[in-house]
Amino acid sequence: MPTLLEVSGLIAGYGETRVLHGIDFAVEAGGVTALLGANGAGKTTTLRAISGLARRQGSILFAGEEISTLATEEIARRGIGHVPDGRGTFLELSVEENLRLGAITRSDREVGADIARMFGYFPRLRERIRQQAGTLSGGEQQMLAIARALLLRPKLLVLDEPSFGLAPLIVAELFDILARINREERMSILVVEQNASLALALADHAYLLETGAIIMSGLARELRENAAIRRSYLGY
């Protein structure tokens, strides 16, 4: 499969603090890549660097184009749908307005049909369409955030800890839906997770981050069998 996103020598941080010390990884078109690691390993910073929300150096090639010098909004317009940590809900606006904002840069006439398709994945959003988004539960807000990012019609969906703060049952449902989206929409996904077993079940490639450097990488099913990973991250 061709490479959709290729990150090389990525150094990133905030102000004077350097969080990433030159990392390399790739996402294949149509594939799911997982970035694993403990708290503070630099997972979120990696995603923020890709979207231009953290200061960064190095090369980020997306669909053959260098995006490491672009502003966040231009990167989004190139086709990266980023679901940030904390979900980034527009709390004051309605669910419908949140969805419409996902498609705000589009001028085609299929936005309504796309929103209806999102209701296929997330039926609960349809029931809450007129509700203020701030009143949704955490799981519903996560679904809203994913739907919002997909309405951009991105080439790559970037997810920052989609399981964070959600009940296990909701998380299982969410990861099932993500697998469907990857399969049915042929959507490439880059997902950051602390929950390694979930992420390795969804992903085909995975990278393990530790204090700003990649210490292990490979096929997800191989990493699942790896003894060190099992001990440190999977707990069995």
């Binding site: 979207s51 980023h82 940030p84 980034g88 809900t89 527009f90 709390l91 606006l93 904002l101 990012a149």
Partner: protein
């Protein structure tokens, strides 16, 4: 009794002006969490532009339209050139810039157009047999213009894609950028709209209070009181607050404190709101966990 009604009607008319300026203040406040102290002087400058165009022979409504467009452009340019570099600056630096803007607009207005008081024409007739002594045609006309502006602004924010993008950018700039909204330009548009609304308020109030470079300074104070009363983070609340302050000011000026002490009322309202209901009547109380 007729005198009372007359006071209420002209209170609504001036209240409409305060409501417009209050709306302009709220639009910038929502996006930046700063009050633009220069909003009034910018509106005065725009009103002088209108007067210059009318004196140059433009028909009133053409001058009106041209002034709105020029004011919009001035607002956009101020945001792009002066405010943008201040985006990351501490609050006091921004306040300094606002006060500087106020002084610059005031002095430039006086320098270009002189400090002498001038009459500004009204597009509405002098008298009308339909209204009797209840209200002057200009008061009724100005109120109607204000209402049309408010309805248009509401419709723009509520029903257009650009309006939605501007609201989103004000509420959550980071998420807005992640869906591809050019937040910087949304801010500039907000400044342009605020300047245009202020210009309309200036042109509507100038025939009542006469035109001089400090024409709007008192009005800005009333508008600020109105915005606080209604809730400075709530555009509709600010508009209602503006109308309410207009009526309160007129009634109190006529029956309670007299015309000399009217402006003090604005300060009393500001202090009372800040003490008893800091979020305003329609404002959201923001609670943050620490």
């Amino acid at each position: 009794m007729q005198a009372l009604w007359h006071q209420i009607f002209s209170g609504i008319a001036t209240g409409g002006i305060y409501a417009s300026v209050a709306l302009a203040l709220v639009m910038i406040y929502q996006a930046t969490h700063h009050v633009n102290f220069a909003q009034g002087e910018m509106a005065t400058f725009s009103t002088y532009i209108a007067l210059a165009l009318i004196e140059a022979g433009f028909p009133y409504w053409l001058a009106f339209l041209a002034t709105i467009i020029v004011s919009f452009a001035i607002g956009v340019i101020i945001e792009r050139v002066l405010m943008r570099p201040m985006a990351e600056a501490p609050v006091l630096a921004s306040v300094g810039v606002f006060i500087g803007l106020l002084l610059i607009f005031n002095s430039v207005t006086g320098w270009i157009f002189s400090y002498s008081v001038k009459a500004f024409p009204s597009p509405f007739p002098e008298t009308s047999q339909f209204l009797g002594g209840w209200a002057s045609p200009h008061e009724v006309g100005a109120t109607l213009v204000t209402l049309v502006v408010l309805v248009l602004v509401y419709g723009f924010f509520r029903f257009t894609k650009l309006g939605l993008a501007m609201r989103a950018a004000a509420y959550n700039p980071v998420s807005s950028r992640l869906v591809g909204i050019r937040v910087g330009w949304m801010l500039a548009l907000g400044w342009g709209l605020a300047a245009a609304i202020g210009a309309i308020a200036g042109m509507m109030v100038a025939p009542i209070v006469f035109l001089d470079p400090s024409m709007m300074s008192g009005i800005l104070l009333y508008a600020f009181a109105g915005a606080l009363l209604g809730g400075i983070d709530n555009p509709l609340g600010a508009v209602i607050g503006g109308f309410a302050v207009g009526v309160i000011e007129n009634l109190a000026g006529a029956y309670v404190v007299g015309p000399e002490l009217k402006l003090t009322l604005a300060l009393v309202i500001i202090i009372a709101v800040l003490i008893f209901k800091p979020a305003g009547i329609f404002g959201r109380v923001i609670v943050s966990r620490v």
